[in-house]
Amino acid sequence: MIKMSQAYKTQLPNGLTVLVKEAHAAPVASFWVWYRVGSRNEYTGITGISHWVEHMLFKGTPTFSKGAAEKAIAREGGMFNGMTAYDFTTYFATLPANRIGLALRIEADRMVNSVLALDEVTAERNVIISERQGSENDPDFLLNEELMAAAFRVHPYGTDTIGHMCDLETMTCEQLYAHYRTYYAPHNALAVAVGDFDGDEMLRLIEQHFGSIPNDLDIPAVNAVEPPQRGERQVFVEGEGNVAYLQMVFRTPPVHDPDFFALTALDAALTGASGLTFFGGGLTNKSSRLYRTLVASGLATAISGSLIPTVDPFVYNLSAVVRTGHTPAEVLEALDAELSRLATEPVTQEELTKAIKHAKAQFVYSSESVTGQALWLGYSEIFADYSWFEDYITNLSAVTVEDVQRAAQKYLKRSNRTVGWYMPENGA
């Protein structure tokens, strides 16, 4: 008997990493399979392929014909979805706990048996293009896409997960199938279960469904390394609309670097603590430094910051919506003044304490949802180790005022950033 009120990690002989955690607050359970493949594994010609393959994994296998899996999950009252990001593709179902076995059957099956039929690929091409066109309607997307392309000129993080339109128009069924066969294998995957079940029984079920899947494929390595940035970069995007946006990204260290937590604390002081969730936390940031400088002053109507943990070094992102009647230049000037102020008015112990208390509250809230817990356990295992999530508060608590000051000086400098301007054609 292993106690699994904390997460328990093991590996099957075929290389599948398994994380199991019991949670008995509600009669529900969540099961996820994560693959270490995403837009990080792509290059020009096949950008967007991981996301497209994710769509294709909902198109059926010989066992579950097209639509059968989501219908089966829905019949049990469950929730069923997939998502693709830079570093991963993941599939999940959350169900009444006594039905969770269905999710294991579906995921084990489609790890190897998805069909990717030509007619389905053809129909899905239009859906994917439509998804991209919907994003293009949004100035934020247009700006972010150009900005990231300028911030990364070598590493695939410079391309959005949706992919380039020309690749979406030309990729073939054979390319999609090859991508699927290359990366979907137990030794490139992670199974996570959190919920109201017996942990030993869940482990046995996972072994039963996934244990015999072969692992005979070599997984190609990603060798891209973004060269050092030598000076500030700027990008200007012109587009329709009446509102201007300003965004900037600073290159940041890998997630294993101790400076990462110092930057997390810095972000909390600048733009408010993050919500520890993909699904939005509804948190306010009105006592943060940049809110006071940009929004309370009337220059902008919103400011947000994000520091996403990733496998390879990424960026710290600041985004502002420029208030009508003001310009991105005014926002940039005020933002620069505030960042310079960090040198003379370092982040205080009080601001650190606030960030830690905030994180503690977030952990309590997130413990209510098995879906949220499974997401964070799996996600942190992708870029580090699941203990990254469990040790989050400890690591954040260890950050000192000096650590934050050093990180601010090292990373939040102009030569390390790319600035993006969205200039509306109808703007004031």
Binding site: A25, A26, P27, V28, G67, E70, K71, A74, R75, E76, G77, G78, M79, T94, P96, A123, E124, N126, V127, I128, S130, Q133, G134, E136, N137, D138, P139, G239, E240, G241, N242, V243, G272, A273, G282, L283, T284, K286, S287, V295, A296, G298, T301, V321, R323, T324, G325, K354, K357, H358, A359, K360, A361, V364, Y365, S367, E368, S369, V370, E425
Partner: protein, 422 residues
């Protein structure tokens, strides 16, 4: 964890009219407060569209004991949240915090609802944020299609015909005094409901709520009944052109059943078949899966205290609008003219009843469910009866609801996107 019901929900009516409902949940040391006041856009004049929502947002901009900065400094230093949001019939509020911080968040909530000061400089900042948001809306195909739909589907005198957040010209004209007057005339305890769910014992929660609001004597607006909304008998169509966009958004729909309509659950099951089940129901299967015309194509029946809309929503390539419309109308025609098969009906019912545990997983979810039971007088045993209420719905009832509320040949259709080519 059992399904919430009369045996573990405590309901108390305070002398000033406030209804308090408490359900303990000690699974984690947090607590959620959720509720509403009987004031909203219903009580504003059309030429002041946006007043109720502006007022609700302004409450958080400063109170007798908490200037704006202090409200957020206190909340954000403990990872807690308090929010107020103006709706059409009601103004909603909520808090989320660790249980140790409940006294603080209740103190702030009380001051926000009872003693707002509407500081002039903060009101101007807020106005700037609202006006910028309205500029963004003017270039957002989804929001503009939604706005045009409401204007088409409801008569001009109906509160639903006007934007909740208003228009540039109305929001520009609303003064600090308008907000203060609107507040004074209609914020009060009668019709107010407060739900507390979390790691707090019932007696303590009741005492805290009574201490905070028990002596409140606010006013209330008299309300005329909602104007009649007749069934749409012709095609009403409006196109909003937004140059430079790559996708067109479509909203097609009808005034729908209120939550309290006898056939609301029939309509709810019908809508699940049409545009929810699995990957967006029949609409998703036809428009997205079979034809690849859209990334999203689904439907929602709003319910609510009045005839909230029943809508189909889709985002398509501008060249595919006609084809998507043909498919959407075909699905509406099919659900009106053909009874749903027993197998499909059984699947949909299983989904609706089976997903209850997921909806009740979090404290927010439980609070939402209790609030709905109170708001629509469903009875505190409603969740216990829910499965049987759903399971007794027949294919005939589903079809009757479709025929009563939907029509493939008469609807309001709003389209927002780039100009047609050629």
């Amino acid at each position: 964890m059992s399904i919430p019901g009369p045996e573990d929900i405590t309901r108390r009516e305070l002398p000033n009219g406030i209804v308090v409902l408490v359900r303990e949940n000690h699974s984690s040391p947090s607590v959620v407060v959720s509720g509403y006041l009987r004031v909203g856009a219903y009580d504003e004049r059309p030429e002041q569209a946006g007043l109720a929502a502006f007022t609700a947002s302004a409450l958080m901009r400063g109170t007798a004991n908490y200037p704006f900065e202090k409200i957020y400094a206190e909340l954000e230093s403990v990872g807690a949240g308090v929010g107020v949001s103006g709706g059409t019939h009601t103004t909603g509020f909520g808090t989320k915090s660790l249980v140790e911080d409940l006294p603080l968040v209740l103190d702030i909530l009380t001051d926000v609802l009872r003693h707002p000061t509407f500081p002039g400089d903060e009101i101007e900042k807020l106005r700037g944020e609202l006006l910028t948001d309205l500029e963004e809306r003017a270039h957002d195909t989804r929001r503009m299609a939604g706005l045009a739909f409401y204007e088409l589907a409801y008569p001009p005198t109906h509160p639903y015909a006007h934007s909740l957040v208003g228009y540039t010209e109305t929001v520009s004209e609303l003064s600090r005094d308008h907000l203060a007057e609107f507040y004074a005339g209609g914020y009060g305890p009668r019709g107010m409901v407060i739900v507390v769910v979390g790691a707090v014992d019932t007696a303590t929660a009741l005492a805290q709520i009574e201490g905070a609001f028990g002596d409140w004597e606010g006013r209330q607006y008299d309300r005329d009944p909602l104007p009649d909304v007749s069934r749409i008998t012709e095609m009403r169509e409006r196109t909003v052109t937004i140059p430079g966009k790559t996708q067109t958004d479509i909203v097609l729909g009808y005034p729908g059943p209120p939550r309290t309509a006898p056939d609301f659950l029939d309509a709810f099951v019908c809508n699940t078949v049409l545009g929810v089940f699995g990957l967006m129901g029949r609409l998703g299967e036809n428009v997205r899966e079979a034809q690849g015309l859209a990334y999203y194509s689904y439907s929602r029946v709003a319910g609510g205290p009045g005839p909230g809309p029943w809508r189909v929503i889709a985002g398509v390539n501008p060249a595919n609008v006609e084809r998507a419309m043909v498919s959407i109308r075909a699905e509406i025609r099919r659900i009106c003219e053909e009874p749903v098969s027993e197998a499909e009906l059984a699947d949909n019912k299983a989904f609706i009843t089976g997903s209850l545990p997921l909806q009740l997983e979090t404290k927010d979810g439980v609070a939402r469910a209790i609030l709905n039971m109170e708001r629509y007088a469903l009875g505190l045993d409603y969740l216990h009866r829910y499965a049987s209420l759903i399971n007794e719905i027949t294919a005939e009832r589903v079809q009757a609801a479709a025929r009563r509320w939907l029509d493939p040949d008469a609807y309001a259709l709003a389209i927002a996107g780039p100009p047609a080519e050629g």
